[in-house]
């Protein structure tokens, strides 16, 4: 067993020296993810509010103004302008100045007063599906509510009273949802680049070839490279969690120690991806390109942006092969839902399995391929 990891100590110590000798790289690899986090955390709000709205109120009486007030008070619509004809209403939407146009017909109040059905036209720009969806939901809900209130004039309670209650993130704060997922992406980014570069640099310098003429074993070499960067990745995790908790005020409902414990297999997988990248790439620029090839699926198919459940079957299947899928489940589980080991041990195990497989593939590639270069 000792022999299998031959050279581990020497390589480990040397990597630590490399890191110490180059504090600038260490500093940037720790600080840049935090900057990204600040920019994304403050800049992105996934809740749709204050949609630019244009109104053509042909009626203009009290009932129509009440309806507009209700729309405004929903916080979903922001009325930017009132126009006097259909043409201007259409133009504003085509020009992109407004996403929603509302036309209240001239007989709106009359029809309501005569207990007849009154129509309101809502034009919605469908070019952004999430904005359009929100506009449809809110206008329909307000219309329905308005109708019910008129039907039930005696103010009796509704027959069915739905009381939705949002668990875990009651204010629907974006950072709460967004940052635990972002943690996975940032960690992947840092660790993959660090390991990939540390090996590709040795390829470029010719020292890797030199190492292969010594009795060092591939596993000794790879673990010697991996552990120092595991430590850096772990420090990064601590920094990210501190920022998330105290700058963005995201409450952590679960046990931080369990989160830290379950982060180790994810860091292990990310580092192994870096090693696999370096076994293929012969230069640092090649390594960057290959690394990006692994980032994009991690961003789009891991559930970080789009929910995995709504993906087409093929992508849903693919998402099972993406480490970030499991880790995002872990971070959201512990941070938002207060989940524990009993809920998440399977995700941790899946990550360990993936990491081991990737590392074995990388070791084999180093044994067979690198030496030919």
């Amino acid at each position: 067993m000792r022999n299998f990891f031959r050279g581990f100590g020497a390589v480990f110590y040397k990597e630590v020296l490399h890191v110490r000798r180059d504090p600038a790289t260490l500093f940037f690899s720790l600080v840049i993810p935090l900057l990204q986090m600040v920019v994304l955390g403050f800049g992105i709000d996934t809740n749709i509010r204050q949609i630019n709205t244009i109104v053509f109120n042909a009626d203009g009486r009290r009932e129509s103004r009440e309806l507009l007030d209700r729309l405004k008070n929903s916080d979903t619509f922001h009325i930017i302008r009132y126009v006097e004809n259909d043409g201007d209403l259409n133009d504003a939407i085509i020009a992109g100045k407004a996403r929603v146009g509302i036309k209240i017909p001239v007989d709106y109040s009359d029809r309501l007063l005569h207990n007849m059905s009154a129509q309101v036209l809502v034009l919605i720009d469908g070019s952004d599906s999430s904005v359009a969806g929100q506009a449809i939901n809110v206008t329909t809900a307000i219309g329905l509510d308005e109708s019910l209130r008129r039907v039930l004039q005696d103010r009796a309670s509704f027959a069915v009273d739905m009381r939705p209650k949002m668990l875990f993130n009651p204010d629907s704060r974006s950072p709460n949802f967004f940052l635990p997922g972002l943690t996975a992406i940032l960690l992947l980014n840092v660790t993959t680049f660090l390991t990939a570069f540390s090996i590709v640099r040795e390829k470029e310098r010719g020292t890797l070839e030199q190492l292969f003429v010594t009795p060092v074993r591939p596993m000794g070499l790879l673990f010697g490279k991996l552990l120092p960067y595991l430590a850096i990745g772990f420090s990064e995790l601590c920094l990210i969690l501190t920022f998330m908790r105290f700058v963005f005020q995201v409450p952590i409902h679960g046990n931080v120690l369990i989160l830290a414990f379950l982060s180790l297999p994810y860091l292990f997988v990310s580092l192994s991806i870096g090693i696999l990248v370096s076994s293929k790439a012969n230069s640092q620029s090649e390594a960057i390109q290959l690394a990006f090839l692994t980032f994009l699926p991690s961003i789009f198919f891991s559930g970080y942006i789009f929910p995995r459940e709504t993906m087409p079957v093929i992508f849903y299947v693919i998402s099972y092969f993406i480490p970030a899928s499991y880790y995002i489940n872990i971070t959201r589980g512990i941070i938002l839902r207060g989940a524990g080991l009993s809920h998440l041990w399977l995700d941790g195990l899946a990550l360990y399995a993936m990491g081991s497989i990737l590392l074995l593939i990388a070791a084999r590639r180093f044994q067979n391929k690198v030496i030919m270069a």
Partner: protein, 321 residues
């Protein structure tokens, strides 16, 4: 196999796809020799080194290094040999001491032995003043000494040096060779590739590889006496003249001169020995070419390799026809 053999290569073959980089190469290196391995770029020198050091699997043939089969025992082979590549594989952001320590640990030297070996190597290579300097800040010659030191820490009996003197200054080059002779006197075997003919002349045993084929193998002196190099009934002469270019043009048209090339202020020519040296001088003078001296000359190793290459090319063309 005799215990005095450091390397024995039998019918080595290495193919990359359809391309045969090393084609049926056999040679033996005795212990304590400085074995010079020569050949043009891309002729297979580095490939042979990689095969002998266990970096590349053999496509055919067999190789024994220090009595071990490289195909089955490559880890033990790697423990017994040292290797210095042409780009001095050092860590530029580590100091001289740190580089030495790293390679020592990689070979598993325990602390006391590592300390002793580092002292010896620092002494031998004169690295003392640079111990705390980063490898990146060393000049080419010192980088090469450090690289050699790193390759020798574990006291290998056989060292592979791949173009150890490429790109370093002449003084450092001479010093390296002095060092190699000293170490070779202690029984260490060297396998050295080089482009420099003067370095080849210093080797106790040379081999020349040309596009995957070994076309010469022997001591420098035995190669000079090969019939292909010095055909029966010919003589090699040096003609010293102030007008080398004109003389060369003229000499090439003389019957009885087989080949001629310029060496600085003189011409080296292979002439038939029925040719009288005085006649040659007369003919040159008659054409207005002043001649200061004509004297017989032993072939240089460069002559040897040129002749053997022509011969080999002729054979290849004959085979193709």
């Amino acid at each position: 196999m005799s215990v005095a053999v450091a390397i024995s290569a039998e019918h080595l073959v290495r193919r990359f796809g359809n391309f045969t980089a090393v084609n049926d190469v056999s040679f033996r290196v005795q212990k304590g020799e400085i074995f010079g391995f020569l050949g043009p770029n891309g002729s297979g020198k580095t490939t042979v080194i990689k095969m002998l050091t266990g970096l590349l699997p053999l496509s055919g043939g067999e190789a024994n290094v220090e009595g071990l089969d490289v195909r089955t025992d490559s880890e033990s082979v790697r423990e017994r040999i040292g290797y210095m590549s042409q780009n001095f594989s050092l860590y530029y952001d580590l100091t001289v001491t740190e580089n030495l320590q790293f390679y020592g640990r990689i070979y598993g030297l325990e602390p006391a032995r590592l300390k002793r070996r580092m002292d010896e190597i620092v002494q031998l290579n004169g690295l003392e003043p640079y111990l705390n300097r980063l490898a990146a800040q060393l000049s080419g010659g010192w980088k090469q000494r450090l690289a050699l030191g790193c390759a020798m820490l574990h006291e290998p009996k056989l060292l592979f040096l791949d173009e150890p003197t490429a790109g370093i200054d002449p003084v450092a080059r001479r010093q390296l060779w002095d060092l190699l002779f000293e170490l070779s006197g202690h029984g260490i075997t060297f396998f050295v590739t080089t482009h420099y003919m003067d370095e080849a002349e210093r080797c106790s045993h040379v081999a020349y590889i040309y596009y995957g084929k070994l076309i010469a193998d022997g001591t420098p002196n035995s190669l000079r006496e090969l019939p292909d190099v010095q055909p029966h009934g010919t003589l090699r002469v040096e003609i010293t003249t102030p007008e080398v270019t004109r003389a060369l043009r003229f000499a090439r048209h003389l019957p009885g001169i087989r080949s001629a090339t310029i060496f600085g202020q003189s011409i080296h020519a292979l002439i038939e020995d029925r040719f009288n040296l005085d006649d040659l001088r007369q003919q040159l003078l008659k054409n207005g070419i002043a001649v200061s001296e004509i004297r017989p000359l032993a072939p240089s190793l460069e002559d040897v390799f040129v002749e053997l290459t022509y011969k080999h090319q002729a054979l290849l063309e004959a085979a193709r026809a």
